[in-house]
């Protein structure tokens, strides 16, 4: 640790017993970026569930909005240590999207417009644990936060909730994504503080 700078405190960091270890509470919604923000016109937007052999299901924007919608309220935990409580979203549960998909796959790779990828075990997307969301706080999701639509997997660090989602590929083997191959943890459970590779 370096020398202490007199009277320096940094941004307010609010501790809270409900927080995972090492996290602090924020009330704004920080935007982190690993590249240019993709702009996806809705008439060309589509979302796919596919396997290595090709697409299994594909939805246009209209078809996607016609699916049964849910409005989860969840806590977010970013690996850069901020957490945000009680965020309200609207979107489609992965249980709906995967409803009639027959697959023995155990892994999933979420991929996005703009090229981002992130991997997770398929079971972490099912049983009410994940959504593809298109509204935040009653408003349409802004591109900096992942609009038109992003993945929401709130029980894992937020980098798993891929912004600008384009599809989910079902895989028999784990295929580490963008940050998972760059030093971050393969699974990313905030409650076990799995931030970096090897944690």
């Amino acid at each position: 640790m370096g020398i202490i700078s007199r009277a320096f405190h940094g941004r307010p960091r609010e501790p809270d017993a409900k927080l995972p270890p090492g996290q602090y509470l924020v009330h704004d919604f920080p935007v982190l970026s690993a590249g240019p923000t993709p702009r996806v016109p809705l008439d060309r937007w589509e979302f796919s569930i596919d396997t290595a052999e090709g697409p299994v299901h594909r939805w246009s924007w209209e078809e996607f909005l016609a699916l049964p919608q849910e409005t989860p309220t969840v806590d977010l935990h970013c690996v850069t240590k901020w957490s945000k409580f009680g965020t309200g979203w609207k979107g489609v549960s992965l249980d709906v999207l995967m409803e009639d998909v027959e697959s023995a796959a155990e892994y999933a790779l979420a991929y996005s417009y703009g090229g981002y990828t992130t991997n997770l075990p398929l079971e972490d997307l099912l049983d009410g644990k994940a959504w593809v969301v298109h509204e935040f706080d009653g408003e349409e999701l802004e591109p900096p936060h992942g609009g038109p639509a992003r993945l929401l997997v709130p029980h894992l660090y937020l980098w798993k909730s891929a912004k600008w989602i384009k599809g989910i590929r079902l895989l028999n083997e784990d295929w580490p994504g963008f940050w998972e191959t760059a030093g971050y943890h393969n699974y990313g459970d905030p409650w076990r503080e799995q931030r970096y590779d090897g944690d």
Partner: protein
């Protein structure tokens, strides 16, 4: 284990107000190895609970012993810049790492004419180049884009700048009556009027916010400047 470039302890000696929202910090850094104009330092602040954060700042002065000058623009709701401009007092210590960056530098022995294009606080590393020029023969032209006269850094010094350095002020919002140019963004006509023609093969340094640098670099290339001779330094979204 890799030995890392050390963090040095810097002590604030004094500070000069440049504008109502910007200050030049004069720091004493024992053992400072010297720097080239255009280089920057990473500043690290650490809170009592161990939290620490870093930002990069361009060096404003010509290399001079253990003395280092940084000009810091206060970013509203920033985390580091308001501390540096409003809280830090003479005698207080911060940590810094550097000098770093060997690309966006002017080497005082190079001979082509120099074109400096700065937007807002992008003037800082360019000023280090002007200050390092000393009695060199290399002719400089500086295009300084700023919102209004109240945002002007180094006003007195630029006013008195020596022969061989021509300064053009490009006001984007409010121009004083004698500006000789209507307020507006940097455009091709400015580069033609105040810059060097591409045929003279100038070394070009552009520094400022991302959008400013992007647009300036595009205009320069369209005008026929060799992209390989245009060096850029963009301020990023580091949150101040």
């Amino acid at each position: 284990m890799i030995k890392r470039l050390a963090w040095r302890v810097a002590t604030l000696e004094s500070a000069r107000q440049e504008t109502p929202t910007a200050k030049t910090l004069v720091l004493d850094v024992p053992g400072w190895p010297g720097h080239l104009p255009g280089q920057h330092v990473d500043v690290r602040l650490t809170a009592p609970d161990g939290y620490s954060t870093q930002r990069s700042y361009s060096i404003a002065n010509a290399s001079a012993g253990d003395r280092l000058e940084l000009t810091v623009q206060t970013v509203d709701d920033g985390e580091v810049s308001p501390y540096l401009t409003d809280v830090l007092e003479p005698g207080d210590q911060i940590e810094l790492r550097g000098p770093v960056g060997g690309w966006f530098v002017w080497r005082p022995h190079s001979s082509p004419p120099v074109l400096l294009i700065g937007g807002g606080s992008g003037i800082v590393p360019l000023m280090a180049m002007v200050r390092s020029r000393g009695k060199a023969d290399t002719p400089f032209r500086l295009l300084y884009s700023l919102r209004d006269p109240g945002q002007l850094f180094y006003a007195d010094e630029l006013e008195k700048v020596k022969a061989g350095v021509e300064v053009a002020y490009l006001y984007t919002r409010i121009a004083p009556p004698d500006a000789g140019r209507a307020a507006g963004r940097l455009q091709t006509a400015d580069l033609i009027a105040y810059g060097w023609p591409p045929e003279t093969g100038p070394d070009v340094f552009v520094c400022g916010p991302t959008g400013f640098v992007e647009s300036a670099a595009d205009l320069l290339t369209a005008l026929g400047h060799d992209p390989a001779k245009i060096r850029t330094e963009r301020f990023g979204p580091t949150g101040g």
